[in-house]
Assembly symmetry: D3
Homo-oligomer: 329 residues x 6
């Protein structure tokens, strides 16, 4: 396989604080000899584990980029035992545009792994993480939120894995993150995900959903900051104690807990995130805005639980996921 076209302007083996770029050549109508410059920082001292902290896997999710940029500008090399690599905007073209997918190739980075060195721009980014950055890491945390079209109660997540020792490491890291909710996920279709790429290399991997709507709140950014610092302490890269916090454990089982709309219209939720719902209750109504006087379509819960996630925009289309019920354990 060909080498990655991406080159880093910093040296991941060097001690100290470095701020630089992952430089990805990109020839296009606006610049024949242009590049995409993905910001990266590396803070390293001596020997120790490596944490790879990422945000902007989707370009419209903001808690990750904000907390990682904050950490990158504060962390001192002398505080660190080992190495912290920070990439606040993985799919940088999407981050610049504020969109889930890349405006260049409409690539969803989190479905593009393992990527290709001679593929699309998004595939080249995936390939670089797959073959260069992930192999450097022991602990990987990818901070997601719901983006412009989904909203979630804030949770950290670990996956059910075939290697139970690895799973235990991941669960311990998820608990160290100390988000208000903690979710055990059994992905139905894990193909192409960054999560899967990291886990298949045996890494300790934590993901999150810390809110959504294409915004960030002070409260959710604070969760991200605390979580990332906790992870570094947990991994032994930073000294000190994990800052504990209460966390509700949730399952997000498939099928019956996902509610899909078969109609298009205005979305009227009958309850808000975190509220309790019983099987058979109305979760949402879809109203036609094309005429008055029509009865709304009612969507009902098919299981007991709390409202863990929802479609965010006021307009909803047939086929959109309206709501996700999380089941407290």
């Amino acid at each position: 396989m060909k080498p990655s076209p991406i080159t880093a302007t910093i040296d991941f083996e060097k001690d100290g604080v470095q701020h630089g770029f992952l430089k990805l050549p990109h020839s296009h109508d606006g610049s024949a000899w242009g590049s995409i410059m993905i910001p990266v920082a590396c803070i390293k001292q001596g020997v120790g584990p490596t944490a790879l902290l990422t945000g902007g896997n989707h370009g419209d999710e903001y808690e990750g980029p904000l907390a990682i940029l904050d950490l990158a500008s504060r962390l001192k090399a002398e505080e660190v035992s080992g190495r912290v690599i920070l990439v606040p905007g993985m799919n940088y073209p999407a981050v610049k545009a504020g969109t889930r997918t890349s405006p260049i190739d409409r690539g969803n980075l989190n479905r593009s792994f393992p990527g290709r060195p001679d593929g699309s721009v998004t595939e080249k980014i995936a390939d670089y993480f797959q073959r260069v950055l992930l192999p450097l890491a022991d602990l990987v945390c990818d901070v997601h939120s719901g983006g412009k079209t989904l909203d979630f109660v804030p949770f950290a997540a670990a996956h059910i894995l075939p290697d139970k020792a690895q799973q235990a490491r991941c669960v311990a890291a998820m608990e160290a993150f100390a988000a208000p909710y903690s979710m055990m996920l059994l992905e139905i279709d894990a193909v192409g995900m960054y999560d899967t790429a990291a886990e298949e290399m045996g890494k300790t991997f934590v993901s999150t959903e810390l809110g959504g709507g294409g915004t960030a709140r002070a409260a959710t950014v604070a969760i991200a900051r605390r979580g990332l610092k906790n992870l570094l302490v947990h991994a032994g890269i930073l000294e000190g104690e994990v800052e504990a916090a209460q966390s509700v454990k949730l399952d997000m089982p498939d099928g019956s807990c996902y509610i899909t709309s078969e109609v298009t219209g205005l979305l009227e939720m009958a309850l808000d995130l975190g509220e309790v719902v019983r099987k058979g209750e109305v979760v949402a109504r879809i109203r036609s805005f094309e005429r008055t006087g029509a009865a709304p379509v009612e969507l009902r819960a098919e299981c007991d639980g709390i409202l863990a996630g929802r479609h965010f925009p006021g307009l909803i289309s047939a086929g959109d996921t309206v709501a996700v019920i999380g089941v407290p354990v």
Copy 2:
């Protein structure tokens, strides 16, 4: 002045429940003999005051359309003494597109009054409200939210008016609405607003901001539903009692309480809506996403109060209003 090109498919003078359209001829490349069909309902019985209830003045604000569609499909003629005219999507092309302004002419309806019968599509809509619907009304309530780019604590509002008797009527109606917050507004630039058009005709007028972000929550829709019903009771159109609720009174003075960004980047709020802030405290930080390691630009409050409004998207541009401080009275 020429007559409006808009015709209603219902008769506002007829008793009973009618659902129909305001039909606005619109010849365009996609349909030479097409029309814009703005949904409208009229529920009337006997003699009594007329309430004109509107949403979708901006097309990305959802509490108004949802509560008005709900009311339009529930209200029975025999419950009404007088008349209720309901237009859930005033700037209907914008509502269909889920955008603040019209995708046809980029018109901001709330800056287009009094409109023109031979102007742009948005101006034609304004003209129809100005010359046909507003004259029919005694009480006018236009339900706004922040839309995709602003978010507010939920409030009803009245304006400071030269006619103090009229102002008192408006304040009484605002109080009847019973939103969690109540705001007295002195508009700096009221030119072109629907509010001004209604107030200059001597109407009792209530406006709101019930949330934002281009979504609606169950809680904010409930505020809108209660508020509209309360208004109809307050006006004597419906029987019964106003459903009272606690409401914090706020002023939103100009100048020092509006915070503008002079830079572009990622927005990190330092506090959330409804939280208390003191003059001199950091309200928000703007972070460059173009490189790591740079210090954020800090924006500080220039007055004491609570965070009443904010820029919603994670990306912010130079010139955007970051935050509005409301001053409790």
Copy 3:
């Protein structure tokens, strides 16, 4: 009023055959010192009446441009007594784009009269016809078809005018055109039309609708060619006899003969152009393509007559005119 910015590269007072342009300066991002070059021909000999023949008033109607281009390349000065001015593509930016309205300013030329010399590009074109070309003409014929979104039985038309002598001249010219159908029109909203501009100057004016769908058939182009030649003979500009043909006289009364859809979906006509329909019969069905199993919305005729016009595309939106019933007289 300022002079028109348009200059002709030919001299309308000169005898002979001239092919040239109406040159309209247009500074835009693609050419700071560019112009729009509207093709024009003038064929003149001696003293006699002037005919102004135009097509492309809407840019997606083809019988007019084809017949006029044909005539412009065939007509010899020695055949002519007087003058023929031919503009095959009035709204030339729209003609180039194949769209009803101008891609530059979305202007509908036939609603832009009398235009303005310092207005939009479309208004500048209208102004040039209003102040330069129309005053040169005795007989004006503007060849329309239905364009991409309408289809008609082929007809020539004259308007009911306050000056009955002028009306008689127009009717005589319409009859000379000898289209398969002849329509007397009472325009509801004649403001801004080229027709009105010509008629208010006392010109003999004939309009047509010769088909539609954004195409031209051999048969409809033949109607246009014959009609234009007949007009020139009728006016005494060409020698010879008017080539007569059978023509069904129609009225297109308002209101009940226009059928509008209040829903969006797939359009299924129940009869085709020229077929007879009785009041109460189904003219069209609108079917949802979003699901199977739903009953279509049926639209019924509200008067007796023939199907004279229809919405052409397979998709139809709420507010579109579905069909027009013409009433034979």
Copy 4:
């Protein structure tokens, strides 16, 4: 090979009438957890052959969707011996947009077979037909028309196949369809076609071209309705007699019967669909709209026959097929 990501909301093995969707997950900027909902109906009773009836393979062809939606809403399970599966809009994103190809990936579904479960949206649809729906069928009919840019005399078609017994089955089905014209096709480039996919599985396959221009006429929809019903009778799924009609047999040989334009301009046909043409006669003229006075480019027939197909729009570009001559047999 991976399983299809598409799931049906109905059960093809269940007796009765079912209306539902083929649900295709589609994560995009407008909905992170969205789906494309392709309408499908299944009408089944007892044991018997399966007919798979499809429209909307190209999204701007309307006779198929209209006739199939009509059949889906009328057909009763008790009338059926066997099973009828109806998909009125195969390339549903294209159908919604009214375009030949998918607005999502510009995919031409009829060149995307056999598709891929992890490919583009269009390839996923092709894969589902290839691996799920086609194997269920005995008789397959895909109803095409010319779409927005082509127009045809209405015909049903069968292919010349290596398996002459299969070809005879297909010809018999084509004849049962009873369109005004019947065409034997030898596809030059059959790669990627749905036709080829069905035929290679040994299915009895009928295709059609029933008009075009992006519209549907009452007459052509009637041909489609009759044809589909005839097919079901012919297959023994419905009782009764095939409704016979006269059908002209045509060949559409390659090369000399296709006429291509090497210039860009306005298209003026010299004859209309169904008319007779002799070798050497002018079939069409292309006129420059950029200037008057130029001679048109003439295109002449290179074989005898009738005009079976044509370019529909008034504008034509270099490289476009202008006309197809069909040779009666």
Copy 5:
């Protein structure tokens, strides 16, 4: 007339160096409470004349913005006797986009004077210069280049004015600018120009064309820097001597010296900027790229002179100005 909605964040009456913004409120779909922030600097000391130096009147012309930004960051208050106001990007939305006209309203700022406070964004900018900035100035210099679609020999220009004393002041300032060429202009259509607005107020006004093509060369930026400094010395705002340089005097008479293309194709210049041409010589050839073997259209000079300006892009459209011949005096 209403006050301008634009407010300056700096005080033009204050001594010292100030860097700030002209803040223009702009509510749009991307930010309901947004503003356009036009950079401005003011460098003032004591009493003396005011120079207003501007660039970016068209957004794709770069010598002006570069020289003015350089001057704004170097000039010290103590060097100045009087005041220098610097606006490097007048039509700031166009400057950000790198386009001649505004991407918001497609406004050409230099055809929008005197503007309107309640007009489009571009008209609001014009109005602010008309009513606020121009009245503050004694000397006005607006630095233009050819932009992306024109290229010029570098020249400064003055207009022929009715007030010969004012004209003499302007010519003296033009000569002080000391560009390689100096041009006396008689504008045909001066309506709407910033030049005209300044001149009608009696200001000393200098304009330039310093190159083009949407780029800037080191040599042309050096001309702009020297010219601006010379102007400030000439006006007595800076001390020292005007840095003289040789300048060829040119006339750019109308009509015969402008060469327009009537065809579309590839532009092949027969001579380059500054070269001598004789009447009747070929200046350019336009070649069709649609086919090989066709003869190019040749365009010939209609007067003697040098090539002073040309169409820059390789593609040229009918109606574009190909070349301008300057006549040395």
Copy 6:
């Protein structure tokens, strides 16, 4: 592998002058049965070598298309010993649009070799050159310029090749071209280039960069014309002498001679093309246009040489190549 879908309308084996097209079927929403018509000429007499001369590999580079169109319309069969195949616009969709890459698939033709017969439009063009045209040729010259976003001193180029005999042939041809500069290139990433495709077949290959900016000057077109004629003389296809001219030999070593910007802003070059620069000197400054008063970012040379290439547009983005230093040998 499947045959190419492209067919030539001319016969490359026939003597004489032929002008025609490479016809590439392209079914799209605007024409279901359309084609891309790539102009091609073949001038052949008797036996002798074949030269393949191409331009428009990138669609915004003009010296090649102009010189090749000129040659194609002048060259007579009787002047030729052997064969000259001329394709002035290889990536024809890009040439029509005036863009580097294809507007259909955004393909960069010069990174698409060897192409695929069933790939995207750009890949189909590459495949046709790979498998049909290149095998016919002995000598291949592909004329490039910098396009809209780069500008170069005019040079011809040869590559360092493993086969030194072939390299010597290429160098001899480059020298025969006689451009003002001659460059020996060691491509870092030659994968996908037309150059590599030709060289791997053992062809004598010459490339050029003759200017840039999306325009052509009379002087650079003259270089291209002379160079192509010289090549044909050099190859023995035309009689006569190579027209010699002085040529500066340059190396363009990697790494230190390429200067990249890490910031976005306005580009101010400190020197112009062809000027001498010393290591450590400022080559360019990038200025923020978002505010006045900020110091520019300075970019310095890291080697001695001349400025051989530069970013052309006035706006520059982080990641763009600012300048290339050529080292005279």
